[in-house]
Amino acid sequence: MRIRSWVAVIAGLLLSANLWAAMPILKGVGGDFSLQSSLGRQVNLTDFRGKVVLMFFGYTNCADICPTTMAHMSQLMDRLQPADRSRVQVLFVSIDSDNDTATHLNQYLAYFDPSFIGLVDSQDKIDAVAAKYHAEYVKLADSTVTTVYKKLTLAGEATDQQGYLFSHTAKIYVMDISGRVRGYFYMGTPHAEMQSQIEQLLQE
C-alpha cells in the first residue's frame, strides 16, 4: 500500500514535469552577435553561455506591448528559485536606435528588473541581428519589408519623436545554455509554462 502511494506520487511528479514537451532545437534561427548594451559596453551572446537567455525586440517609446512584456518577465523572474534566477538572462533589443540610448535603456529596464540588459546599436547592426533571428517577409498594406520590423510613419507626425509606431515580432526568443534558439514565449504565455520550460533547459 505504501509502495503504491509512492508510485502514485512519483508518477504525479513525472507527469507535472512533462506537462510541456521539451523544446526542440530550432535550426536556421538565431546565432551569435555582438552589440552595444545598457551596461555601457559591448555584449556578446556568448557572454551568456550556461544561462537561459530570453530575448525580446522592442522600443521604449512603447506604451503597452513592451512594458507589459517586461512586467510579465519581471514577474517570471520573481517566481524562479534564486539558483535558477541567476542563470536566466533577459535581453531587450531596441529596434529604435534613434531614441533609445544605452542610458535610457538602462533606466527603463532597471525599473522592471535590475538584471535585465538592453542592447542598442547602429540601425544596420540591429537589422543584421533581427534578420538572423527572424528572416520572414512581412507584407504590410502598401509595402514589403525584409526585416523583422517596420517603422510606421503616421501622417502629419513625421517630425514628431512620438509620432511613429513599430510593428514588431511578438516573440520572446528562448535560448538554451549553449545559445541555441529553442522556442518562443509570448506576452501572454502563462508563467507556470515559462518556468517549467526554463527549469528543463537549465537541467540540460
Partner: protein
Amino acid sequence: MKCKLLLASALVSVLIGTVQAAPLVVSEPWIRAMPSTSRVIPIFFKLHNKSVEDRALVAIKSSRGDVAIHETVAADGMMKMQPIEVLTISAGQHVMLKPGGYHGMMSHFTEGVPQEGDLVLVTLVYANGEEQDVHIEVVRKMNTGMAMSSLATHGS
C-alpha cells in the same frame, strides 16, 4: 453581500442619474507607473455602457499630457499598437482598456511623467459631445490581466 451590491449599484445609478441621463460607468481605472524617463505611459479602465444606445469614446484629454486612444494588435507573429478614432461601447455592454488591448497612450508630459501614487485627472470625450471626468491613480503593477486572458470575455 448581494444586498450590498444592489444597494451600491442603486446608489451609483442615483448619483450618476443626477449628472447624465445615460451613464457610462468607469471602473478599475489605473495608469501603469513607468520610469521617470519614460516618454509614454498607458492608461487603462473599464467602460460600461448602461444605456440603451451605443456610445462612442472619441478622445481622452488631460492637462498632464496628450492622450491618444490606441489598440494593440497581434497578427502573424507580429504585434503593433495603432491609433483608433472611435471606440464604440454597445448598449448594455462594456469595453476593457487593458494591457495587450485597448489603452490610452499619454505622451508629451506637461509636468513630467506621472509617478506612482499620483492621481491624474483625465476627461473622456464621447461622440455626442458629453464629457466625463475620471481621476486615475498611477500604480506599479507587474501582475496584470492581459487581453488574451479570460478577462476579455468576462460578462457583466
